[in-house]
């Protein structure tokens, strides 16, 4: 009995691998398991090769396992392109239709065994059935999902030919029972769970934070976040405007927020690059704003559909001038909710732009997660009342935060300005005003107290894994394995990236002799940031590589045990 | 400027005075704006001159208020309207940052002459006698102003050629 099983389903356009995998994901959810579905596809809009990857487990995780137990292909057209993303081992099973070409050598050389399954022939036995439903049934049987859960998932997923789908899946289950099985341990005790993507979680977090205006320019892999928000905003009395480009979308969001309505835009690296100038306006004019960057592989257009943690430098340092702002990275798929909601809170309460660094991996993965505990409080902005005596929009307060006049409020009108200004907001080129306003803006950001939210800290020991974002789950899994074998390891996964928290990290690293910095980019952006702002032990080692391949727990585990 | 409205028999004395009042007020406003512009551009001498001219127009406006016993401002009636801006209001383009007092007085002279012509035309129109009498009185007053300004112009130096030369180029601001 296994606590985790990883399956991959591949095929070209029209094979329905995504649909089948989604049904399997829902069936696992209904059966009480945790599950994570990710996907990889070719560049074609229709008809391209695609691979759907599903990990079903008895514990919550949004990380991938070291290897896949089963790779099933409806056909092998160009599936070899995904070989690097679909690691197999001698214990793995490759399922394919013997009527199709043989499985590619790149998979077979892993030592995995091949099990023929005549998908087309079987599907032909049921009128209106498709081969993907046969595979679906076979996979469900191989991992021991209860038929009732599978049937319920099929009924809710299929819009037509439900009976044919059900019959084909039953046929597949019967065939699957004859193959090697990878049965799962019984599901964990029932608890409240959600099935959600990182992009949906970020969108929902934004709404719960109080965002009621979104400006959107489509970009992979952030588009689904915007598409989720569009109808959702309409339900809660907000609005979404599709902008002509990212220069417009961020400025629309700034305009709405200046008007007192919490605002957000979401994009990916190329869009964030275009938005950077206006983020500086948000800093200078002190207009709250949240930008979600669902990172993809860069530079330039890069690999638009695949993940990488390459925008860290841009998010931290992209702005011209000294421009204190917030950068938050969710460290799990579900955390996309809390991190985005937190970003809204900080942006609103500190009147500053906040960047949420999500990534394609979180954004487009769909997972069963423990129902997040949602902060019930929407963000609050400090505003000024009508005809406030001696009102100064940019008053030099101890906290750095000064009450904001909202258009429509009489007697305290002002001009929000990207030009340096004095306390009243009047443009000023004087050194003293520049220094005072600069310090005000720096003060409000540096004084924020994140409490425990700045990082997730797990375990104890003199070895520390220091990471952020979607590298957290594999690091956690590696930590679990190492600790089970008696290694004393701790995990520090940063959530608040800017402002830096050197004192907190110093405490978190107390007693640590060796630090392993894990990140998914080529140049070690996190390592360099840490070196600039924190006291790291000289034994800090970098474990990094560019996207799109996710870290596997085993490689981090080996880095822990082999210093 | 010779609209049929001006000649309308329906016009009242109060309407005429309201127009006259608005004219003075606009002149005061514009002189003040010129003074502010010149002050911003460090031409203190001309700024002060415009300020003085603004004060004079404000005085005229106040006098009308007192004469009419208006405690607040009347609406600007259509009768006796002028095309474009009021006769005593110089166009924004009249000023230059290096201008000299003589130029400012040229502007004042232009305004007073136009004001005189404006009232003169009404005085000679077929407006009600009360209006014509008042207009004639005001035209005479403006004539006096014209002479005052002309005398003033003799007391200030005439600008030499190249008064608007600036050895430095304009500045880059943003």
């Amino acid at each position: 009995m296994r606590n985790s099983v990883s399956l991959a389903l591949a095929g070209s356009g029209g094979a329905g691998v995504m649909t089948a995998c989604n049904i399997l994901l829902e069936a696992a959810a209904k059966a009480g398991y945790f599950a994570l579905m990710t996907r990889s596809s070719g560049p074609q809009i229709r008809g391209g090769e695609a691979a759907a990857m599903l990990r079903v487990s008895t514990f919550a995780t949004d990380g991938q396992d070291d290897r896949f137990q089963v790779l099933a292909a409806i056909d092998w057209q160009n599936v070899a392109r995904f070989a690097a993303e679909l690691p197999l081992g001698p214990e793995s099973l490759i399922i394919g239709d013997p009527a199709q070409a043989a499985a590619p050598e790149v998979f077979l050389k892993s030592g995995a065994r091949f099990a023929p399954l005549p998908l087309k022939t079987l599907a032909a036995q049921v009128a209106g059935a498709w081969p993907n439903m046969i595979v679906l049934g076979a996979l469900a049987a191989m991992i021991g999902l209860p038929p009732a859960a599978l049937e319920a998932a099929i009924r809710s997923a299929l819009k037509k030919n439900v009976d044919a789908g059900l019959a084909a899946a039953r046929l597949g289950m019967a065939e699957g029972a004859k193959l090697d099985r990878f049965p799962l341990a019984p599901p964990p005790p029932r608890s409240a769970r959600w099935l959600i993507t990182g992009n949906e979680a970020a969108g929902y977090g934004a709404l719960r934070g109080g965002v009621r205006f979104v400006a959107a320019y489509p970009i992979t892999p952030a588009t689904e976040l915007l598409e989720w928000l569009s109808p959702a905003l309409a339900k809660v009395g907000g609005s979404l405007v599709q902008a002509e480009d990212e220069l417009a979308s961020i400025n629309m969001a700034l305009g709405a927020s200046y008007g007192g309505v919490p605002a957000l835009t979401a994009t990916s690296g190329p869009g964030l690059s275009l938005m950077i100038e206006s983020l500086g306006l948000g800093v200078a004019a002190e207009v709250p704003l949240v930008v979600v960057d669902v990172m993809r592989t860069g530079p330039s257009t890069g690999i638009a559909t695949k993940t990488e943690q390459g925008d860290l430098n841009l998010a931290l340092y992209g702005l011209h001038g000294d421009a204190p702002h917030i950068v938050i990275a969710p460290n799990s798929l579900a955390d996309c909710l809390a991190a985005t909601q937190w970003a809204v809170e900080l942006a609103e309460s500190l009147q500053v732009p906040a960047i949420v660094l999500s990534d394609q991996y979180f954004g487009q993965a769909r997972a069963v997660v423990d129902a997040p505990r949602v902060n019930r409080h929407a963000a609050a902005r400090l505003t000024a009342g009508a005809a406030a005596e001696g009102y100064k929009r940019y008053a030099l307060t101890p906290s750095g935060v000064s009450p904001m006049a909202i258009p429509g409020t009489a007697g305290i009108t002002y001009t929000a300005d990207g030009l340096e200004h004095n306390e009243r907001g009047t443009p000023s080129s004087q050194a003293a005003d520049h220094l005072a306003q600069m310090e005000k803006r720096a003060r409000k950001v540096s004084q924020l107290d994140p409490g425990d939210a700045w990082a997730s800290i797990e375990g104890e020991g003199d070895v520390a894994l220091l990471t952020f974002g979607s590298c957290t789950a594999p690091a956690r899994e590696a930590l679990g394995r190492a600790r089970a074998e008696g290694y004393d390891v701790r995990l520090i996964s940063l959530r608040l990236l800017a402002p830096a928290q050197p004192e907190r990290l110093k405490r978190a690293l107390a007693g640590v002799k060796r630090v392993l910095v894990v990140e998914q980019n080529h140049s070690g952006q996190l390592l360099h940031y840490l070196r600039a702002h924190y006291e790291l032990s000289s034994e800090a080692r970098s474990l990094r590589r560019p996207g799109p391949l996710p870290f596997r727990p085993d490689e981090i585990y080996r880095a822990i045990v082999n210093p | 400027m010779s609209s049929t409205q001006e000649l309308s028999k329906d016009t009242a004395y109060a309407d005429f005075m309201a127009r006259a009042y608005a004219m003075e007020l606009e002149a005061n406003e514009r002189y003040t704006q010129f003074a502010d512009q010149l002050a911003m551009h460090n031409n203190v001498e001309v700024a002060m001159l415009f300020r003085k001219l603004a004060d004079i127009e404000a005085l005229h406006a106040k006098r009308i208020l007192a004469e009419m016993r208006w405690s607040a401002l009347p609406a600007m009636p259509v009768p006796y309207a002028w095309d474009g801006e009021a006769p005593e209001t110089a166009p924004f383009e009249s000023v230059h940052y290096l201008m000299q007092p003589y130029h400012a007085l040229e502007i004042a002279l232009r305004n007073e002459l136009r004001a005189e012509q404006y009232f003169e035309r009404i005085a000679r129109s077929d407006a009600p006698p009360s209006v014509r009498a008042a207009a004639a009185e005001m035209a005479a007053e403006e004539r006096e102003h014209v002479e005052l300004v002309r005398a003033w112009m003799k007391r200030v130096p005439q600008p030499s050629a190249g008064w608007d030369d600036d050895p430095d180029p304009p500045r880059i601001v943003e």
Partner: protein
């Protein structure tokens, strides 16, 4: 007391701030500022219910010179900022102040889409055919043979025609005004604000420093000889064949303005969680 208590001239003062313009004395933008103040006063608006959004350039300094709410943002992006503000706060009156560089060059794409989107904004572009704040470079509306340091032989590039572009892109109100006539300009701006949807007012506003030749504009401008039309084809012919100094409302359309999706809330945000909850099978 037989006279009404307020006069537009005096109300216009309510829209002045105590911050003094840095524009060159003689600049047409002073006049446009006054025209905006007079227009807002004539519409019986209160300064706190009006927001003026701008980008970068001489003209874009305008918001701070008014007592309205102002937003002086980045170069070229005034229209998007105004769009966001108006969609989020539809009850505000939102004006946008721009110039030929800010609005037609770096912000050109936003111009097209703002016209097309037809949000209820009033877009006032002070066009002087030159970049003033950076010292006299050619802008999209500069004549091809106008020489400057950056283009010593002229640009050789045809001028942009903002009114035609506005009309073709879907602006709901297209007018040309002249800064030398602040009252006429005020009336046009008031009409533009009153008209629903995206209203575009191109104001010929001379630059006395870099384009002293534009002082001659006052002798070239003339009122549009025909009444406004709601027929885009007629308006297009009119705009494309006029001499560039035709002043007045050249097109007044009747497209419904864009309001965005904002309606009253039908759900509490927390209710949306229902979509994510898993119903387990027994």
């Amino acid at each position: 007391m037989n006279a009404p208590l307020s006069a537009p001239l005096v109300q216009a003062k309510d829209f002045k701030s105590d911050y003094k313009p840095v524009w060159c004395p003689g600049c047409g933008d002073y006049s446009v500022l006054l025209a905006i103040q007079k227009a807002l006063a004539s519409l019986d608006l209160r300064p706190e219910n009006v927001a003026i959004v701008s980008g970068i350039g001489c003209s874009s300094r305008l918001p701070a010179y008014t007592s309205c709410y102002g937003f002086h943002g980045v170069h070229g992006r005034a229209l998007p900022a105004a769009t966001g503000l108006k969609v989020a706060r539809p009850e505000l009156t939102v004006l946008v102040a721009s110039g030929d560089g800010d609005g037609y060059s770096i912000g050109g794409n936003h111009f097209l889409h703002a016209c097309r989107r037809n949000v209820d904004l009033t877009y006032i572009v002070m066009d002087n055919h030159v970049y003033g704040m950076t010292k006299g470079q050619p802008s999209p509306t500069t004549e091809p043979d106008w020489t400057s340091k950056l283009a010593p032989a002229g640009t050789g590039v045809r001028e942009f025609h903002p009114l035609v572009i506005a009309l073709a892109s879907g602006a709901n109100f297209v007018a040309r005004a002249f800064s030398g006539d602040p009252n006429g300009c005020a009336a046009l701006i008031a009409d533009a604000v009153r008209h629903p949807g995206f209203s575009f007012v191109e104001v010929l506003s001379p630059c006395v420093t870099f384009r002293p030749d534009q002082r001659g504009w006052k002798d070239l401008v003339h009122p549009a000889p025909v009444a406004p039309t709601d027929d885009p084809a007629r308006a297009a012919r009119r705009i494309m064949t006029d001499d560039g100094f035709n002043i007045g409302i050249l097109y007044r359309g009747n497209r419904a303005p864009y309001h965005g999706a904002a309606k009253a809330a039908t759900h509490a945000a927390a209710e949306l969680e229902a979509d994510f909850r898993i119903e387990e099978t027994a």
